[in-house]
Amino acid sequence: MKDWRYWLAEQRGTLFAFGIFIVMFAIYSANHPAGFTANVVQTAANKGVLLAFVAMAQTLVVITAGIDLSVGMIFTLTNCMASWLVIGTGLETGFGVLAVLGTGLLCGAINGAIIIYGRLQPIVATIATGAVFFGLALLLRPVPGGSVNEDLADFLTGRFFGVVPASLVALLVVVLVVWVPFSRSEFGRAAYAAGSSEMAAYMSGVPIRRGKFLAYTLAGLLAAIGGLFLTFFTYTGEAAYASGNAYTLFSIAAVVLGGVSLFGGKGSAIGAIFGALAFRTIGDLLFVFDFDPLWQPLFQGVILLIAVSLGAFALFRVRNRLEWFL
């Protein structure tokens, strides 16, 4: 096989997600009353990047064959924190942003420490830490409220040069600063290797524990960036249980749509980003077609069900029935 074929085989999931997104967005903007304008793109981008950040966070953990059911709650907690801290003069705002991101890192590190060094199952452990994070969020914001440095918020949710949505640029910067170095580092490879086959990775002397720990920690950071952006969009903080849960759920859907294998070791955050953008666009399709918003949860649920069932097609390739059981 030629080099480009290997590349294509590896990137198939990402390209698939990209394709879905392009098709869906084309349908969306073609039927939108305002058409394909900078305003429509900006609004769509602002909604999409929130899920994209959380989906990236989920990707890092899913690559190690784990799962983080607390990402939505870290997102909610950091939203509540940002509504207290990211305000005031430039310096205060800066420290506030750092504190919020640090909190995210800490939450992720706690998850990682409990799961890797405490040897607990990721599902149960992150459900429990998610309850703690939500409790803290509720402590910070018993009722919705707070405010944010509006200059910074408007800058990061507006447009550069009148066309490019700033939130997309921020997403690109985060990809370049967090994802690219991680996936190319020794620890990133360790995370992939641990997800692919932990035993083989261990035997090869790969630092799997540190790789997985870094993946969980960075997942916390990415969820915190998402929470920060939520504050920039809404100008308030709210400890909403349903919204936190929905983000966790949608992040898993986005990851699956983005071609990241839930069994670990396969996929990339870029795919998950397109998965997230596609998922958001599909959800918004209902609005441009003037459906009753009541149908939206059902529609999203059915899309999710179809997306996760797509993986079942691999079964047709199975020759030996014992391969049903992993």
Binding site: I114, R119, L120, I123, I127, A128, L294, L298, L304
Partner: protein
Amino acid sequence: MSETTLGGLAGRMPKFLRRADPAVVTAFACIVLLLFLGSLYSRSFLSPEYLLQQLKVASFLGVIATGMMLVILLGQIDLSVPWAVAAGAMMACAAAAYGSAGVALAIPFGVLCGVAIGIVNGIGVAYLRIPSMIITLATNAVAQGLMVVYTGGFSPQDSATAAMRYLATGFTIPGVPNAVIIWALIGAAMVFMLTRSSFGRAVYGIGNRERAAYLSGIDTRRIVLIAFAVSGGLSAFGGVLLAGYASKAAQSMGDAYLLPSIAAVVLGGTSILGGRGSYLGTVAGVILITLLQSILSVMQMPEAGRQIIYGVVIVAMLLLYGRAPASR
């Protein structure tokens, strides 16, 4: 039995203690500790009325956790509990609005809706080989969507039937709430099924290694499908009971039961990886969780504090005895 090899303390302990699972013993010890701490706070914690009331509240969680345990024993998980509970409650109340036949069929209809959700889960997990965590999340979202469309986003106005109220709040035997009797019956059936039937053997077998169970001639996919259907049905039945208790269904009534049901099963010593665990442990876990919730609310702890303590306690107890073996 050679006393020398068993060593001092363990050798002198009565037989039933020696055989007991340390996790179950720890869970019961924690229940006693909680009751002791509670009684320091207020003497009424040890009164029979309070304890019976707790047992009654625990029985709703107990019914739901029974189904969850069956699924966890297979090495799977059922995250569709929240809306299976709500769907069971809402559909039972909805059926009650359709004349006397509707009233008579309300409970079976509610449970059947849960079974249907469970069957979708089971098909996804057993035949399509989708990870259970994912497919159950998806069916949960679909069930939520269906209920939102049905109710229009508000709590339904239909109220529970007299039979549902009787099951949840009545007394057939003086002094013992019906809900507790129901939990005891379901628990007994579960114990019988797990320990005395080939279905139970198959469940433990699949939980240990599905491949081996398959090669031993067990139709593993059918067993998994049935287990998920039972879990969905029991969740919905829990919802029916809850609707009877509150005399109506509500939008997010099931949300408060997902984490507690998983926690109760896992705290009771059932391995989240499947294949190991006893129903006695689940009973202990359910009572432990209910007591913890009750004591926190009696102390008038705000919701935020409750969530934090709750999560910390679960992580701490799992770190005590729920850890995976140190490999290599």
